[in-house]
Symmetry: C2
Subunit: 349 residues, 2 copies
């Protein structure tokens, strides 16, 4: 047994029956947010373990006032761990999620590695939380757009049976990680000083600019992000035939994703009914004040657990009156990533 | 006759048969761009006249190397003027456009004052330039979103008969004028310094934020900008029954408007056919490189006369295969305003 593993067992014992939670990829934008969510959660009753790349190993940070040291991930890192939250790159997740599960930990993975795996539930607790059960060790956390969008679509689907979704996204820098957030700030600062800036994280200039999502385009013209949104919405809601057309766009916003959605239903859902449904939907906050021109926007959804939904109106382009238009804004790092993973873990323990 | 009018006649005569062009609202973002377009156009063969508010009257600027003085608008300002381009607020246009026309000038108005007036053509020359004729004195220049969007929709409509449009916009600061562009820069500069900034032009914080278009919301939930887009697209294309659902959003971009569009056609238009049509459409530039992930974006459409169109793909949410998805970016101040007005004038003279 390695020194790390011995320490893990010692730590677990020191928790005196408390729950040990591990965060893999703890230094990234999502990982850091997971640590923040865990500080507020009642999940960690024992030890918190944080794993990062070799570059960050040894760094120390405070968790609930106690110092925690970043460790390098090893094959026996998960001994004594009850829940492992993965905020890692896909290849790291592919390698270590099965190892964590084999070691007896619940593994909740934020990468796309297991999302479309038939044996792995893709979970947003408010939608398909019934898939969370003790015998299931591995869970996938959805793509950030899918997770945020489904929060508004699911309650409406239960009222009117969703047939078709057409969506355009306004995605923030955080979806491409901390370096992209830094690039947005640096590029903008340079622009305002009249200086040139050579972008190195994203493929296009980002200061006061927007561009099609930077994932590879498939034969049908849809990029990787759009393909994920379609497949994942279908899997989370259990609607394999749902028709979804989405355009994913990166905008110069730091950390919240917004979406303009047109949703067609089999049964008419009136604007008033939709408002009433969304007003009491868990994890949703209705922000729909026409008089004050106050609707969901990133400056208000950033840092919020709730997904903001508003601009609810009947889509005038659908003569049947069975379509609604709405606008959503949700924190990409919270409901779009870290918060949702922690919520899955909370239901497990 | 006032001194201004006498000067106007003298100026017109000095042009030795040359054409005299006036710009009303010459100090605003659109007016300044009109002056730039006129410098490049062969339109002004005689005198250029510039009218501004009293605050700016007397200011001097260079036009083709010669000094021009901003004048205050008066009832006889249009004597000797061949074409008057109005980049003014709606109330100024309402008052002075008829005065200009009565004085014998062609009046091309960028405000919304006359756009839905049945006796006034709403013109995008590439679409309905046939409405430009000597006997017609007053022309309306469309809303910037409608003008840019119709550049892509019209050539495709001619191929497949447009039935329905669902669009989400990514509108720049310039659509709200120079002060909004300044506010975006100032608010962002303050944000990056960690300083607070009290917004005064737009109703919401603008640094790294986006929000629903700041026009009043009607009973059906659509805001003023969205209502304009629907009505104006129908009028320009002569399609009174076209079904249009649009969501207008202000994003932190300085001067180009972008749009994600889903367009349904009566007859199927294939992706290849759409590409071929748009590649040769006047005023359109096809930017649709899937391999390089290179599509229309504001940083490349700003300052361009052409409207950039790309991301052309079959909308997978329409099982009939009769819908296309596309992404557009066009300079709000050029094709969305100043350039289109100058193009109308060029066809007149």
């Amino acid at each position: 047994m390695s020194q790390t593993a011995q320490a893990a067992e010692r730590d677990a014992k020191a928790g005196v029956g408390g729950k040990t939670v591990a965060v893999v990829g703890a230094t990234g934008a999502v990982g850091a947010e997971m640590l923040r969510c865990l500080e507020e959660s009642s999940l960690v009753t024992g030890t918190l373990k944080a794993f990062a790349s070799e570059r960050s190993a040894g760094k120390r940070f405070k968790f609930r006032g106690k110092e925690v040291e970043m460790q390098v991930l090893t094959d026996d890192a998960f001994r004594g761990v009850d829940v492992a939250l993965f905020a890692s790159e896909t290849d790291i997740s592919k390698q270590y999620v099965p190892i964590a599960a084999a070691a007896g930990a619940y593994a909740i993975d934020n990468s796309s590695a297991f999302r479309m795996d038939a044996s792995v539930p893709l979970v947003v607790p408010e939608v398909n939380g019934d898939l969370i059960k003790p015998s299931q060790k591995i869970y996938a956390n959805p793509n950030c757009v899918a997770a945020i969008m489904v929060m508004a679509l699911w309650p409406l689907h239960r009222a009117g049976k969703l047939k078709r979704v057409i969506a355009s996204t306004y995605q923030s820098a955080s979806g491409a990680g901390r370096p992209a957030m830094d690039e947005l700030e640096e590029a903008t600062r340079a622009y305002l000083k009249g200086e040139t800036y050579q972008h190195k994280v994203l493929p296009h200039p980002y200061a006061f600019n927007l561009f099609s999502h930077n994932t590879a385009i498939g034969d049908d013209g849809y990029n990787g992000e759009e393909q994920k949104v379609v497949k994942e919405l279908r899997k989370i809601m259990g609607l394999p035939d749902l028709r979804v057309g989405v355009t994913c766009v990166r905008v110069p916003v730091l950390r919240a994703h917004s979406m303009a959605i047109t949703a067609e239903f089999a049964d008419k859902v009136s604007v008033d009914a939709a408002r009433a449904i969304l007003a009491k939907a868990p994890g949703v906050k209705l922000v729909d004040n026409r008089e004050a021109n106050h609707f969901p926007m990133p400056v208000e959804s950033s840092g919020q657990n709730d997904v903001l939904v508003g601009r609810i109106r009947e889509d005038v382009s659908d003569p049947t009156g069975h379509s609604l238009a709405l606008f959503i804004s949700g924190d990409q790092l919270l409901k779009g990533a870290a918060l949702n993973a922690v919520q899955i873990a909370e239901r497990l323990l």
